[in-house]
Subunit: 456 residues, 2 copies
């Protein structure tokens, strides 16, 4: 590995990353379809520049998937490296200190939408590759990149692709660097990801909005009705009232629970600096890590209805809609949860309401066996660069495609360079630049070590 | 009265009304401030054309009030005629069959925002005046018009004006034609109007939005918290949980209750054609008319929080806001209700929430004594033109300025030409053109009869 690469090239790297982050590739918003394609094109150009002989833009029904194969080096293992070039929406825009698509360094941190989720991590892997090429441009290990553009909005295209062409997942190991350290200085691999069941709840009580003066007190109010349904789906203690959602859960193993108890966890620090709230919520009979990693949860992501402009309008709204999702843990399935959510909503709906649960996207939870030797190789690389082996934890988030990426039987290394306070999906998302520079070294060494293993 | 006026001038009248309705004078939306002024200017031009010697545009801190005095006829009574030139917002725009500011006739009805509330009624009064002028342009009675531009958004300007210059309300009778018939063919006068207490409930649980993957299950969700507060303010039976809001109510008199029982009221017809819903809501221990006329109510007008765009965003929202109002009945006051609402919200808020109740506008309920002879004169006019005297009813709506208009001691005749299915404040607001033509005749005869009374 070119050990001076990062020091020498830092200015250029920052410039390149800033360019990648400048593309507002928000996959959930149809208006940004062109931007998603621009981000894919940016990657295609980058792979070509790095001398990848195979670079494909795979078209599906959504945003394209970028596929790239490094020059073939015989007798070496093959890694499949996953990432996504799409980003979350940026609202509320007025809470950003600097514009979300104008990456800005403050205090060693780079602020931008996608800084860590996931463009910054994709970039780290690309530059790790660049750092370990030999004088002829050949890598120490065969690498295939698969970078999708719909991770934040359901991932239809990659799902269809890997269903149609499962041979693309044939590899010695899969790297998914869309995750983060458990804590500063403490890199991690993940043994489970939560699944998700994302849906809209539509509620209609009238054919048209009415005047609250003329009909207030007798006409069914769609917001009021929806509010009562939402309040009924989950109580203040954090318990979800969706049939069988807890009964189907496979609880964590004793060993997992033991490991989690030993993890450093400062509740006050977590509350003040990560959650930024006054109190934590959720089921008191479970630890905080269990609530995030091992329990299904229900969150309301958005609600809209009636008059929400400036000033006053005395309307009884005819319709209202909420966006909700359940995070799923091992034992839950997307299909069963969606059906149960529909049942719960219909049961809570009063006779004057027409309700409908419209699925938006979903994925099953994922479990990963971390006993494969590739995890040991990754540990060595982390130890060499940052002085710490990884801890095995779970994640509250969902990466829908992970199950598909592992279908070829290769171990899936869920890891990454993020930090807990990165604010992914929030205004002022950031990545610590030191994490990027370290990450380039860690993944570079991982590539080299995997290559050596293959040779040995 | 020029009895052929309406038949002869119908085409011109419709053209003029269409022009007035084309001005999008939405007082609640700051972007439409210029349009409000254009509507005021339209009235100023009209009063000048009708030969009013005094026409004033009275500036206050909001939209201007138009004041116009007819040529002085000695020995005749003076009427003060109130109306408003501002209209409600038009969203949801996509539910309008024809554009809201492009008045369109379908089946004898004129569809436009403001068609009946209140531009169509102001127009009716103006044209009644035009129809009863003599050859010299002199009216049969002295008329002062006071037309405000903030009825739909709190009415600050007129309130300040009439507080500062109470002498403007010195009159023999006040006409407020912002109301409607009780039923088709059954004109009405109103003995009480509900007051209103309109406020926003702001709820914040986090300093920033969070990712539901990382924090779902432990971070307090602002929408969920607000939803639970809203559900706690009113239960499914329609009972409001705001301190003293029922205890302070002065119930309707036995006579009122007797009159209301005799009114034609078809519950099924009301539900299907007016409410356009599947069931009525509210307190089962009161009749439907009592719920609308004699009980305070709480309605949620709008709610906003989190991600409400197209697609999916897995955010735990940090803040959410709802617009609500209580309609107030005799015995309730705006100030006491606002304080009680604040108390109720704070009591319902969990320890992790910062809540704030921000007043938007409010007014006390109004009671009107209908025993003054002017009501008999109005009855005669209605009987002559449409064959029916008025019934005494109440109204669920609020006209904040009514109390101020009556401060000079003159009887306030709350009446109008609307019909129950006009859809005021809704998409596809309309006015029946026959109601306008009849209204011109009714008010024309009322002006003449009031003039004759003054002479006699």
């Amino acid at each position: 590995m070119d050990h001076d690469f990062v020091e020498r090239e830092q200015d250029r790297l920052l410039r390149e990353l800033t360019g990648f982050l400048a593309i507002p590739s928000i996959s959930a918003l149809p208006d940004h379809a062109t931007d998603c394609r621009r981000a894919a094109d940016w990657l295609v150009a980058e792979f070509r520049r790095l001398g990848f002989p195979v670079v494909e833009l795979l078209e599906g029904r959504g945003h394209p998937v970028v596929w790239a194969e490094s020059p073939r080096v015989e007798g070496r293992p093959t890694l499949l490296v996953y990432g996504h070039y799409d980003v979350q929406p940026v609202d509320p825009l007025d809470e950003w200190v600097s514009p979300p698509f104008q990456a800005t360094v403050r205090d060693g941190r780079l602020y931008a939408r996608g800084a860590v989720d996931d463009k910054g991590q994709v970039f780290t892997l690309l530059k790790a590759y660049e750092a370990v090429r030999d004088a002829d441009g050949l890598p120490p290990v065969n690498i295939r990149f698969i970078i999708e553009g719909e991770e934040e909005s359901g991932g239809h295209a990659i799902d269809e692709l890997l269903t149609r062409e499962p041979e693309r997942t044939t590899a010695d190991a899969v790297v998914v660097a869309d995750m983060g350290y458990y804590a500063p200085g403490l890199p991690a691999v993940y043994t489970a990801l939560r699944g998700i069941c994302y849906a809209e709840i539509h509620c209609r009580t009238l054919q048209r909005d009415l005047h609250s003066g003329s009909y207030g007190g007798v006409a069914p109010n769609a917001i009021e009705t929806l509010v009562r349904i939402l309040a009924g789906l989950k109580d203040e203690s954090g318990e979800i009232h969706v049939p069988r959602v807890y009964k189907s859960v496979v609880p964590p193993t004793r060993e997992e629970l033991k490991t989690w108890k030993k993890l450093p966890f400062d509740k006050q620090e977590f509350l003040e600096h990560e959650v930024t709230g006054k109190a934590l919520t959720g089921r008191k009979d479970f630890s905080i890590l269990e609530r995030i990693w091992a329990l299904p949860t229900l969150e309301i992501h958005g609600i809209r209805g009636g008059f929400t402009g400036e000033g006053a309008k005395t309307v009884i709204p005819a319709a209202a809609v909420a966006k909700v999702s359940l995070r799923l843990v091992p034992g839950n399935t997307y299909e069963a949860t969606l059906a149960a959510l529909g049942k719960a909503v219909r049961r809570l709906a009063p006779r004057w309401a027409d309700v409908e649960v419209r699925p938006v996207h979903g994925s099953d939870p994922v479990q990963v066996d971390v006993s494969h030797p590739a995890f040991g190789v990754l540990d060595e690389a982390f130890e060499e660069v940052v002085g710490k082996r990884t801890v095995s934890v779970r994640a509250g988030g969902s990466i829908p495609v992970v199950a598909k990426l592992g279908q070829g039987g290769a171990p899936v290394l869920l890891t990454g360079i993020g930090l807990p306070d990165d604010g992914l999906h929030s205004p002022n998302e950031k990545v610590d630049l030191q994490q990027v520079w370290d990450g380039i070294r860690v993944f570079g060494r991982f590539f080299e070590k995997m290559g050596e293993n293959g040779r040995g």
